[in-house]
Subunit: 488 residues, 2 copies
């Protein structure tokens, strides 16, 4: 196994950080809590972003851009919203620096104090709804289906690369509708878009559900979520879609004239996924050798390595194969570096999680074959050079499907139904994963369970079967099971 990377069994958390840093995805920055997304990591994020953007546009959305800075008073207009974000706001108070009187350096100029402090957006509902007030007058202006790709800041004391950082990148959709039903429909549609993206592109199976009141977005009537399971059995909230009711329309007085000429408040949704998905991608699939990137998101899908080194007769074949693969739209790299030996290169590309490695050696070539190594199963086999493009094309698809199937099998094995408190605690402590259990429906019980076990209700799954039962904690009557887990 890779010497640089701590094995999962030894320290899962350190394994994750090692992977993210050593594979060149991201690193800590000089600014506390903020990360640098390195070129390799950013390339994968670009692939995620571009595909999500296509899916948003295919569902009728357009992009726009709203200010980074939000007046403090705006943030305060929706009570639950500010309650949720006040404690993590980065506050801009001044707009100028100047040299200190004693000549020792640069200070904040006290004469350049803002009349009203500005908050760096932790999310943009308030600045966007203050703008929608200008844009929406009549039912003809609705629906308004807008998305924004942006950076946001939520001050964090304890951070972890991608999973929890003070600044992160995300997209936030903000839509406005004439009816409650239509806004709920939008909320659900975007949840489906997220789930499809997670499964088909990230090879990450997710459970769609709705959050309890405790875990709801501040200002939302309902928060829908997709929940994924990591290899250590902890859950990760991978995306959320909020039905906001009329709370922001009321806070910013956004009304529209209906077809009938009456005046009504607008209905809203908002939804977002972030660079946190990068963390989910790493933790769901990788192993002790390094990353395993699903082919659809890999910036390089196939690497070709001449063995033992880039001799002219080998690179000529490598070039030809690369051309054939590229003609099929496959992203290929040839490693013509002559400083490092094949063994070193193999380990490097395993660390980077490149889905397929092709080894080209003189002996293989004499036989008209080439060695294929797939990253997901680490299997190797020989295959004829003739028809290589079709073979690789099919194999990339097989790897994509295999990664999803493997993650789904692991996830399904880690949904455990329990009916007693003892079982509940035991599963959380020893088997990990999701625990499906009855709950009496109160926030108090949820808080109590969280306090005692650190487990939270990840979601009430959509189309959840109704069944008579008793709460595992209080013994009170319950009508359905919900999914508990410890979570990132």
């Amino acid at each position: 196994m890779s010497k640089e990377i701590t094995p999962r069994a030894e320290d899962y958390s350190q394994w994750y950080i090692d992977l993210v840093r050593k594979a060149g995805l991201a690193d800590y920055s000089a600014v506390k809590g903020c990360m640098v997304i390195k070129p390799y990591g950013f390339g994968i994020w670009e692939n995620m972003r571009d595909q999500l953007d296509r899916m948003f546009k295919a569902t009728g959305h357009v992009n726009a851009y709203f200010p980074l800075l939000i007046p403090k008073s705006f943030l305060s207009k929706e009570a639950a919203h500010i309650e949720g974000f006040a404690k993590e706001c980065a506050v801009v108070t001044h707009y100028r620096l100047k040299n200190s009187a004693d000549g020792t350096g640069l200070i904040v100029d006290p004469d350049a104090k803002l009349e009203e402090e500005l908050i760096i957006r932790p999310t943009s509902e308030t600045i966007i709804w203050s703008t929608y007030k200008e844009w929406i007058q009549s039912y003809r202006d609705l629906p308004l289906l807008i998305n924004q790709w942006a950076n946001v800041v939520r001050w964090e004391m304890r951070t972890r690369l991608f999973l929890r950082t003070t600044e992160f990148l995300w997209q936030e959709g903000h839509t406005a509708h004439a009816t409650r039903e239509e806004a709920i429909q939008e909320t659900r549609t975007m949840l489906d878009v997220y789930a499809t993206f997670a499964e088909e592109w990230m090879a990450l199976p997710v459970i769609k559900g709705v959050k309890t009141a405790n875990e709801r977005f501040p200002g939302a009537e309902d928060t829908y979520t997709i929940e994924a399971l990591m290899q250590d059995g902890k859950a990760l909230q991978a995306g959320t879609s909020h039905f906001l009711g009329q709370s922001f329309a009321k806070a910013f007085n956004v009304q529209f004239t209906t077809k009938e000429g009456t005046s009504e408040y607008v209905w809203a949704s908002s939804w977002g996924v972030s660079t946190r998905l990068m963390g989910a991608l790493v933790m769901a699939h990788s192993d002790d050798e390094g990353l395993i990137i699903p082919p659809r998101l890999a910036t390089t899908q196939v690497v070709i390595i001449p063995i033992p080194k880039p001799l002219p007769e080998l690179t000529e074949v490598a070039d030809r194969i690369a051309s054939e693969l590229r003609a099929k739209g496959i992203r290929v790299k040839i490693d013509n570096d002559d400083q490092n030996r094949p063994g070193f290169k193999f380990a490097e590309y395993e660390k980077l999680g490149i889905p397929i490695r092709l080894g080209i050696g003189a002996r293989d070539l004499a036989n008209g074959t080439i060695e294929v190594a797939r990253r997901d199963t680490r299997e190797k086999f020989s295959t004829p050079v003739d028809g290589i493009a079709d073979c690789i094309s099919a194999l990339l698809e097989e790897i994509q499907q295999n990664m999803l199937a493997r993650a789904r099998a692991f996830r399904d094995e880690h949904i455990t139904r329990v009916d007693t408190w003892e079982e509940f605690v035991n599963v959380l402590d020893t088997k990990f994963g999701f625990v499906s259990a009855h709950w009496d429906g109160t926030s108090e019980t949820e808080d109590l369970i969280k306090e005692e076990t650190k487990a939270t209700i990840r979601c009430i799954p959509l189309n959840n079967p109704q069944e008579v039962g008793t709460c595992i904690k209080t013994g009170k009557p319950s009508t359905q099971r919900v999914l508990f887990a410890r979570a990132y």
Copy 2:
């Protein structure tokens, strides 16, 4: 002419603002100095961004992302740099809000004061070079060719949509090299990329040149620029590429081990274009009816309007034509709205600057023809429906070239050679545009000229002919003409 839009002749500045707002490109926000980029404007910006991104990648660059927030001490490390930006820094001093003791609202929590203030990046040289120190050890780590798409904040007292706003979107390339020559080559390569993009995509002819010391980027040894001319005869700096020498490498102590085993400071470039290009696009091409968007950047290149309204037999033909155009990669919209009359729609799409409008009426159809209206010249003609896709495809290209030729002719007519101070002032005041004149090469004279005329030296053109002359202001000897203009 459009009633919503102030004519250029009446008030050029108001014409610009009217266009930007009424055509839905951008608008002022509730936050002083910050703009909202509206969906139509953002769509055009996406087209610009995507093409620039392709050109950066084709020249070997990769994207990454660095923190929004920069410690105050970092910004201070390069003396000229901080001198240039200190007066426009947005400063984060606190990281939390709390309820006031008297219950009247939310205040900045005095207990959450940062030990060191953070600056919202006005540009990222300092945070990036503090990171490059970790990434660069050996000549094998060079060159480092990285670009970032990001938002930046430079506090502005007087703002104008796209042209000058407190927050704007841009890309900033930051490269590191082993030699001075290679860094200069990179600086020049990226200037060429910008010039090619401006001319081929924006239909905007530019003059490539180098800035004088007065107009140089703070911290650069040389600043290269592309300068464009707007319809009112004012110049606009459309992009800059800086040769930074070793100033940031020295400020952040970034050294590398050469092949020979010695230790040397790294050489640097940085280069950027911003949403300011949107302003240039509007001001270079549009007229009193509205925007004129070059076909390569238009989000909708062709709009099809059934006349007098979307009757079934007309929309059927419209659909068929749209399919044919889309098969050629043309971006088409059919306007099937049945509320507004054709005349209203024509005016709307002229305002939006859609390059080609197709009118489909029953009488035309009987003749097997369709009416084509091009936005750039406002000419109309009939053409057979058969073969319409080839016709439109060629016309889009013709429009793109015509817009460039027209802007180039205007620009060339507005470069005036003068040899006396009287002529100089007269041209600036009456003919406008660039003035090519001798200058004695000193910052003092440049300052004096700026003070008296508001004209600055836009650039010393690349490959500038050397000729003996005397400075128009001081009469001192000069070896070359430089380009003066009033500028945005």
